[in-house]
Symmetry: C2
């Protein structure tokens, strides 16, 4: 056996920021060095940020990433980190280009490199490319066909990238075939509710398949609609968790491992096959071997590793939306946000998320009462602002709404929904004016249930730059509000959200006496149907078979189908479920498919 101290660097990168990301690698490597680690591992495409989308089709970007990696190798050695192996994800062009229709321009690959003694000692590319849900990697990458193994202090270490774990065969099968002591997997695996359990199960299974200890490193932080939760971990060859990092925090997880020594010299025929090896997925892979340091280190007394607790589901979800909001605002160069505070639950929760993400001084809440706003709502909004110390202002909209009505009187005036939407658009215009004048990013306050059913006004309440609870159902909006208040109480603090806001019946207050329940089913009923129809893609017959009332099913799927255009015009927001609107779900606007007409399906 041979010992290694490995460090998993769970860090928050920014897409396109090659210099800033290189700086992150340098500073976290120094910390790993300070802890006497022999190996430090960063996440998928750390150097470029992930996902870089169509940027990877720019030759100039690919070339800049490859050049940045070379510079980083030299820099690390100059900084005294030449004797720690640094595993880092980056973007490069295929070393064996074969341009053709249907292959991405410039032949980019989702790469992983090992930096050692001032140079790039090994390099390979992701073999399995995900092309479902939020992933489009057949559009972007040429698959890798080589499995790299490097020997470090007597241990053979193999490299894989993210999806290589999720699909059968490929690098994990090759790892078993060639024999490695440690298998590294670098990931850009976005958070979704309940996913961490699947990840644990998967890591355990693949470690057993490979017959090796598996170290899984994930990114952390928000990138547009994705939120990476970290949750990096190490499992032994039997599938037992040895160490786990906390979620939603940058961290360095250091673990002392006792691993099998590699056979032979580390290269050449006595070491093991160099390939081609049958990868068990219809392809063969070459094996590329390199020796960084042949001999095991003198033994030392291992330190116990950390196994971080996971928060409860509501706490995890709340952390995801706070993280997504904070990073979107910060990485886009904004220093403050503005939002309309109606006195309802949605804007109350968004204000609370914003204060937790950015601090109260950065949060500008604006009450914009109309003739239909209740005094209770105004008071509740003011009380929330007072408790959380936001920058609060009140701008009545009645005179402006009246000016619009006067302008259109000759054209016949506005009635019903047109008059309701007008109020929301006046508010949207006011917030955007404040944004343009003062540089705030406008947060929208719509939740997933509203987005699904089109229960919002285009260019009204959906106007803004980021939608923190875009993928949070109304049911979960209440759950998060209660969870956040309970946490405050547990800490002896005043609950941030006044109880009145949580318990009152929801209303858009755009017409006298209006309630959400006038137009939508009860939210607990609605959310259950939405979950099955949207997240699980059930057809009408399956929905009714699952116990949903046929009339509710018909009503809900009609609303959802008709709202596709409106959903597309909404700002991005953190994805937290298995199927969010946006990158996850791409439907035509022009479509006559009516699920209700095809109950046989």
């Amino acid at each position: 056996m041979a010992q290694l101290r490995i460090a998993l660097a769970q860090v928050d990168t920014t897409v396109g920021d090659l210099d800033g990301n290189a700086e992150l690698v340098s500073s976290w490597t120094k910390q790993a060095l300070a802890r006497s680690a022999h190996l430090v591992v960063f996440g998928e495409m750390t150097l470029t940020g992930y996902p870089a989308e169509d940027l990877v089709l720019r030759r100039s970007f690919v070339a800049a990433s490859a050049a940045a990696l070379e510079r980083l190798a030299v820099r690390l050695a100059e900084e005294g980190a030449g004797e720690i192996a640094v595993v880092v994800g980056y973007l490069d062009a295929s070393p064996t280009p074969a341009p053709a229709v249907g292959r991405p321009a410039g032949e980019p690959q989702n790469c992983v490199a090992v930096l050692w003694q001032g140079r790039v000692a090994a390099r390979s590319a992701k073999h399995h490319l995900p092309n479902y849900g939020v992933f489009d990697e057949f559009r972007y990458f040429v698959p890798g066909t080589t499995f790299p193994v490097f020997r470090l202090h007597g241990v053979d270490v193999g490299l894989t990238v993210c999806e290589d774990l999720w699909q059968e065969g490929g690098p994990v099968a090759v790892a078993r075939e060639v024999g490695v002591g440690l298998l590294l997997c670098i990931n850009g695996s976005p958070y979704e509710q309940g996913k961490s359990y699947h990840r644990d199960e998967l890591c355990a299974r693949r470690a057993r398949e490979a017959g090796a200890t598996l170290a899984y490193v994930n990114l952390v932080g928000g990138q547009d609609e994705l939120v990476f939760d970290g949750d990096s971990l190490v499992v032994d060859a039997g599938g037992e968790v040895l160490a786990r990092a906390p979620v939603f925090a940058e961290t360095l997880l250091t673990v002392d491992l006792d691993l099998p020594e590699g056979a032979g010299t580390g290269v050449g025929p006595e070491t093991g096959p160099d390939g081609p090896v049958d990868a068990g997925d219809g392809t063969t892979m070459a094996v590329s071997r390199v020796v960084l340091a042949a001999d095991p280190l003198p033994a030392w007394e291992p330190r116990p590793a950390t196994v971080a607790d996971r928060p409860d589901p509501a706490g995890e979800l709340y952390a995801a939306v706070v993280t997504g909001t904070r990073d979107y605002v910060r990485k886009n160069g904004f220093r403050s946000v503005a939002l309309g505070l109606s006195g309802g639950i949605d804007s109350a929760l968004v204000a609370t998320i914003a204060v937790d993400a950015l601090g109260p001084d950065a949060v500008h809440t604006v009450a914009m009462p109309s003739a239909h706003s209740s005094q209770g709502s105004l008071d509740d909004a003011a009380e929330l602002a007072r408790r959380q110390r936001t920058r609060h202002s009140v701008v009545p909209i009645e005179p402006t709404v009246a000016a619009f009505h006067a302008a259109l009187a000759a054209a016949g005036g506005l009635h019903g929904l047109a008059a309701e939407n007008l109020q929301a658009r006046v508010r949207g215009t006011l917030l955007m004016a404040l944004s343009n004048e003062h540089g705030h990013l406008v947060l929208t306050t719509g939740n997933k249930s509203e987005l699904a059913t089109g229960f919002s006004t285009l260019y009204g309440d959906s106007a803004g730059g980021f939608a923190p609870i875009k993928d949070v159902s109304k049911t979960n909006v209440w759950a998060l509000a209660r969870w956040r208040n309970a946490r405050a109480v547990a800490r002896g603090e005043v609950p941030p959200i006044p109880e009145e806001i949580i318990v009152k019946p929801p209303s858009a207050e755009l017409a006298p006496g209006q309630l959400d329940s006038d137009r939508l089913p009860d939210y607990s009923v609605l959310d259950a149907v939405l979950d099955d129809y949207v997240s699980h893609d059930l057809g009408r017959a399956e929905l009714t078979a699952a116990g949903h009332a046929p009339e509710t099913v018909d009503r809900v799927i009609r609303l959802v189908d008709l709202a596709e255009y409106k959903r597309r015009q909404n700002p991005p927001g953190p994805k937290v479920t298995s199927k969010a609107f946006g990158r996850d779900r791409r439907l035509p606007i022009t479509s006559r498919w009516r699920e209700r007409d095809h109950s046989a399906g």
Copy 2:
């Protein structure tokens, strides 16, 4: 040799409208029958419409498509069309499902079927799946591995789908190997400027490779952002064009062909290989053979085929945007449109497109003058409305703008850009109010140059449901206006667009004396840089090497990079270039990549 009369049905389907699309197949088949055709061929996924995007991941939709195909086969026979072979694209599940992570849920395939005598006589699936530009077919489909050949009146006919022509190897290679007399290719190939030439060249090359006459059938009409141009054609085995359909029109192209007779009985070993055949692309394909009618028909005197002229480039582009606009409005159930008519060239062109697409009674133009609007602009707008007989109205915005300023006076008021944007948002809100009240679809009037550089107001001039000139550069806006006027003059009509609108210097008229040239380079300079930066993905070094001034390059790429969020909030519009904003170009919003900082790339 054996004769066949084939009919290519170039029709306009609607996504999701299984009943309506089946009705189209029935009615065009009757027309083919009336012309005594033996074979009628429809485009890719005719029965479901194309592209159906994530709808294909719904099991209920896949099942409904398969059931609709079976019903259609029976119906055609009942209608007396059982003895004409009907080739039609549809959606089905893979007959050999192999569910796995990374394969689309429900195993959908992009299929083609042959209907004959009341049943589905043959079926296969697209082999090459495009996954670039606007296509995401690895997300949606399982590739086909069978090459179907059916014998019809002595001729062996092979089937391919769209991308099967564009990539090397696959069905075309197999067609040569097994020997067919006629190769059919059914397509959903979207229009872009200059593409028809490539299509001709491709069809000629593949016909020579297959050693067979090639019949290429394309869809026609708009589907969300895509516009299918038709341009169906037949080339002989030497690559000569025998027939061509007109572009942007539903049509039935009938062609009498004299084709080689198939060998053997049409099935069995004496006929030719049944596979597996090396497809020359790293895969093997099975060959599935069926005989519909073994013997050649008695000879007849062939009729000469039509070879339609193509319009000139500007005429083709104009037809594309008119078609895209008409179909988007109609297929989404709108009967009228509204747009702001400023007196500038963009809104003048969009109004003209709308009138050509929908007729003047369906086009509501609204002039919304502010204090900064010139009398000339108002007069020009009124004159255009008069010439084209649109429903024109004038709604001054000054009092409403003043109401906003008053509402925000206590918060410090609005200045500069915030005050400019406010005017655009008041106009957007007025148009949306008219839309909500009267049911018009709002057309936005922004062009590609503005969209690229972010030269527009979110929720202002970009508020609306469809953007007819979203993918048309400002340079081409002028070219289309001149072309449209010239066509009118050639026909002895009054030019629809007053000359003053075409010749005046462009201005947003949001501040006194403002001109576009205050903030943007001259449009001819700007559009040239945009074409190279956006469509060709050149890096900074390549742009300057191509002769663009470095200071212009830096200015333009900075504007483009910063406008990504704004572009995403724009409505869809017809894609007419090789790279449109939207489905074609998917960039992160949160990105620190600055092309100008990496001139070495």
